[in-house]
């Protein structure tokens, strides 16, 4: 019986992109269903009643939610082209740094972008220190995963593509060539990878989307 794989996602979500990319890198055929987050489908609510969020992977009718949980699941079911390293210590490191991106870098970047002028310098400095720690993991390797992309590269895509969109909207350049030469080189490599270009958000549409949300966030903060 053929596997039936569906992905409920959203075009501008980095978490959705993580799952899509993992499926593509592993050559797993899937059906993609775009969710309108302002009008969530009854299927999404059925498959993820607890959080009502995307991404949700549905494999032969069984739902899996949370992008990090989905990535582990995908790697365990489809053993070819593993996304996580084989060695337990290397796996621990990949998981550690992915958590760091989500729990530290993303919030501090958000603070830096939304900060008032007097707090901005400190917020930027904090974010840059964290980015530097992450960049150190790339020393001597083209990708975080080694010679090819892996779990941490997938998790770090948010830094590669979302930061540059936010830079256009907010005008804050967190990842400069001067300060992060290795990270910039890595981002350059990603931009040449076909499977990534197939599923990353289209630049202009993305900029407009982020601009609208940024403006709404600013307005809410000043109320």
């Amino acid at each position: 019986m053929a596997d039936e794989v569906k992905l409920f996602g959203m075009w501008a979500s980095p978490y959705s992109l993580r799952v899509e990319l993992a499926l593509k890198l592993k050559g797993i055929p899937y059906e993609y269903i775009e969710e309108d987050l302002s009008n969530k489908s009854s299927l999404l609510l059925k498959y993820n009643p607890v959080h009502q969020k995307i991404p949700v992977l549905v494999h032969n009718g069984k739902p899996v939610a949370e992008s990090s949980v989905i990535l582990e699941y995908i790697d365990e079911i489809w053993r070819d082209n593993p996304v996580l390293p084989q060695d337990p210590y290397d796996r621990a490191m990949a998981r550690f740094w992915a958590k760091f991106i989500d729990e530290k870098i993303q919030p501090t970047a958000r603070n830096a972008n939304l900060a008032e002028e007097k707090e901005r310098e400190q917020a930027v400095e904090e974010c840059c220190q964290q980015l530097k720690m992450l960049e150190n993991e790339l020393q001597g390797k083209p990708f975080f995963g080694g010679d090819t992309m892996g779990y941490l590269d997938i998790a770090a895509l948010v830094i590669a593509f979302w930061f540059e969109v936010v830079r256009e909207v907010v005008g804050l350049d967190l990842i400069t060539e001067e300060r992060f030469p290795i990270l910039c080189k890595w981002i350059g490599k990603l931009q040449d990878i076909d499977v990534i270009n197939e599923c990353r958000p289209p630049k202009e549409k993305h900029v407009n989307y982020v601009r609208a949300r940024y403006e709404a966030a600013k307005a809410a903060a000043s109320n």
Partner: protein, 231 residues
């Protein structure tokens, strides 16, 4: 043996994150050296082994450090494959355990933290949220205990048990210090029974710090938080 499997845990007696790793090692029968860290005066080792967060717990296995308790727990399960296995074998069941672990850690724990650190209206709001989320957990765990029977022993304790224990194991202490009912036998009977079952395990009973000591720490934490938020 000897040097081949040297395990050191840098922890702190009152930290739920440290406790879950300590228990995990004991449950698997892994010999380890425990180093109690003074969090007000962090050792050079902690700063060296966890330069990113400078926090405990840190597990050092044959000289290689691992930080973040959930990452450590998965590492332990993947490296020492004897019972208890912290995650089931079936990938879908593993995904369910990871999902609920994430829920307990990111939602219940964070909300509990807010309840401890606030008072007045802010605390009321957090308590309401906490109780709602406990109801969600109550519903969610029915898939793990389909006939309502909770059978936990030292051979089948898992990741979710360890994480739930570390957040709500000392619920008696939490309820006493906060003056709030959190784990209600009537509102969340499964969660209540589940916690009782885990708390009864001999290794757990031995490892839990005395009630008074935990109460003192919780009171201290709460007072500090309330003081600094009103400063």
């Amino acid at each position: 043996m000897g040097e081949e499997n040297k395990v050191i845990l840098h922890g702190m007696w009152a930290s739920p994150f440290s406790k879950r790793v300590e228990l995990a090692l004991k449950l698997k029968g892994i010999p380890f050296e425990y180093v109690e860290e003074d969090l007000k005066n962090k050792s050079a080792e902690i700063l060296h082994y966890n330069p990113v967060h400078k926090k405990i717990p840190v597990l050092v296995h044959n000289g290689k450090p691992i930080a973040e308790s959930l990452v450590i727990l998965e590492y332990i399960d993947e490296t020492w494959k004897n019972n208890p296995r912290f995650l089931p074998q079936d990938p879908y069941k593993r995904a369910r355990v990871r999902f609920w672990t994430s829920f307990v850690q990111q939602h219940l724990f964070e909300t509990m933290f807010t309840v401890v650190k606030t008072d007045g209206e802010a605390q009321e709001k957090a308590v309401k949220e906490l109780l709602e989320k406990l109801q969600v957990l109550e519903e969610g765990i029915k898939e793990f205990f389909p006939d309502g029977n909770i059978c936990i022993d030292s051979n089948n304790v898992g990741l979710l048990d360890l994480v739930l224990l570390s957040v709500f194991g000392p619920y008696n202490v939490q309820e006493e210090v906060l003056g709030i009912k959190i784990i209600d036998m009537e509102k969340t009977p499964l969660v209540y029974s589940w916690l009782r079952a885990i708390n009864q395990l001999p290794l757990v009973k031995e490892s839990i710090p005395p009630h008074d000591k935990l109460a003192a720490v919780l009171k201290f934490m709460r007072e500090n938080a309330l003081k600094s938020s009103s400063a």
